[in-house]
């Protein structure tokens, strides 16, 4: 049973526009959420996180929104740049630092 779901396998966005990546989760025990970016043949790189006590966290071009009642989070990238093209993983953490990942969304930013 997938506890973290990224239902869009891929997303294509024009350079300069907003990219919105979505993630849903099922486990109410998750209390910390993270986004990672991954290039081919490399390990995932941490991007941004949010605690369950917040509904928004912003870091430069990246903003993560959390809707606890809907068990939904999203990552907004604005403006999108060609270098943002990568696979983006949503991850969720529960007590004891147990970290569960979604299947990923491939983002392509066209110049």
């Amino acid at each position: 049973d997938q506890q973290v779901k990224q239902n869009s396998p891929s997303l294509s966005v024009q350079e300069g526009r907003i990219s919105i990546l979505n993630c849903d989760y099922t486990n109410s025990m998750f209390d910390y959420f993270l986004w990672y970016k991954k290039y081919p043949a490399e390990g995932p790189t941490f991007l941004i996180s949010i605690s369950s006590i917040k509904d928004k966290n912003e870091d430069g071009r990246f903003t993560v929104f959390l809707n606890k009642s809907a068990k939904h989070l999203s990552l907004h990238i604005v403006p999108s740049q060609p270098g943002d093209s990568a696979v983006y993983f949503c991850a969720a953490m529960s007590y004891g630092n147990k970290l569960v990942f979604g299947a990923g969304t491939i983002l392509r930013v066209k110049s």
């Binding site: 004891g96 630092n97 970290l99 569960v100």
Partner: protein
């Protein structure tokens, strides 16, 4: 900048052979994870250590996989015997906290090909 070190980066092995991967986490990080990632899927947790103790190995195929972190620092993941279906990226990650949520940092991974 501190990094998680993994070796080797690439490994090709014949089925039924033994293979081992090594990970050195960021200094001071108590939590160490081994993940397996198959192309097109998200990382799947194999084993999680807190210091030298295993806290979760529920998804580790224990008939052929083993993992250890003897002194609570670096770790080794072993597969014996390797099967064709083990071909994947093996990722190690570490995080610093004990019981408090924080981000995990990943190494470059080991790409295993079983032929």
């Amino acid at each position: 900048e501190a990094e998680v070190a993994q070796s080797p980066r690439y490994k090709i092995t014949e089925k039924s052979q033994a293979v081992a991967f090594w990970c050195d986490p960021i200094s001071g990080h108590a939590t160490l994870y081994w993940y397996r990632q198959i192309l097109g899927q998200g990382p799947e947790l194999l084993v999680q250590f807190q210091d030298e103790s295993v806290v979760d190995d529920s998804q580790l195929p224990k008939d052929r996989f083993s993992a250890e972190r003897l002194k609570g620092v670096d770790s080794t993941l072993k597969i014996q015997p390797a099967e064709l279906g083990d071909s994947a990226m093996y990722l190690c990650a570490s995080s610093s906290t004990r019981g408090v949520n924080t981000e995990a940092f990943f190494g470059q991974g080991t790409r295993l090909t079983v032929v």
